[in-house]
Symmetry: C2
Subunit: 193 residues, 2 copies
Amino acid sequence: MKNSAKKERFFAVVLKLIHRKGFKATTMRDIAQELNFEVANVYNYIPSKQALLETYIFDTQNEFHDAMELILESSYAPDEKLRHVISSYIRITTKRPYEQALLVNEWRNLKEPGLQRFLERRKAYENKLMWLLEDGMEQQLFKSADPKIATQTILASLRWLHNSYLQDDAPKNPIELEKQLLTFIFNGVSENG
Amino acid sequence: MKNSAKKERFFAVVLKLIHRKGFKATTMRDIAQELNFEVANVYNYIPSKQALLETYIFDTQNEFHDAMELILESSYAPDEKLRHVISSYIRITTKRPYEQALLVNEWRNLKEPGLQRFLERRKAYENKLMWLLEDGMEQQLFKSADPKIATQTILASLRWLHNSYLQDDAPKNPIELEKQLLTFIFNGVSENG
DNA sequence: TTTATATATGAACAAATGTTCACGTAAATA
DNA sequence: TATTTACGTGAACATTTGTTCATATATAAA
């Protein structure tokens, strides 16, 4: 009575539709049509279109936050912590690429007060990473650099990953992906480091 | 009769509105209201909402392509070429942050056949960068790595820049920004390269 | 079997949206 | 000045959209 096959199918279809057409362009009627039933029935699965968006976005955001929290609580040095942040980012993205795509592409469609809440939480996540980088710079583990720029650049370099899993563009092996990204973020592309 | 002050104001307002609310959420009436005139008058400035989107996106895309083309035609080595690609990316972004934000955030709202054209051209740009990286790997200038991943990661690490210019988040000095990004992409964050 | 819960229908709604048309007024050009 | 071009109004339009309601059927629990 909790997780019926119907519900699973419903949400799978919805995620794909939103990914293909975008949240705003995906109408309740689109969803119904894709599932071969009538519009009204959509409301037996979700309370509203906005609620659907909020649930997915905040659930996914929470996953990222929880992972970050555990890493920060550990006794690892900053560079090892950064490794784990990257690793957790890849793990979540490869596990739930559609949800991550939704988070990245559709957060702008949140309405207040959800939008503000989202932005605050995102800022909090970014700040934690920034302090981690500053910490590492002080300990001479990381190059001295503008912490804000470094934070945004590192996060940006991870934010495209969901695409590689949602395209015909052959999905990558997560282990190999992690190796490549760790090398890039830690050592860059240059051969003579 | 070509570039009146009215037209300039119109497009400035439109770009800001779209950036704030998103393309789909920005209605013709929103635009009219922001400019203190009636909806019908919007159609004296643009033929349609879609045409507005297409014009901005393709014009901006062309700027990036033209810059890439000039760099590839030069006799620089791959690593110097990459430096120039990054440099041109930053130059265009800091010169037209709203247009770049539009390109990055709203291309999904293109309709066929514009959407397909956009994707093909984007792929072409990515391929040029990828071949540049492969070339550099062969010449031992770049680390050996998966060229697709490297391409996407480098581009992703540049695709957030417009935000830093459109937030209260103090706009950065483009020269310093370029320095930081070159260091990151070429040598990463690690102190002992 | 009876009862409750999950899933489905069809019609209707109010609001929002892109666009058009016929018609004015202001501004620039001849 | 006369005339073309740029800028503006008001009303109306056909669609689309999210959502609700009353009601029906299937499925599972009692």
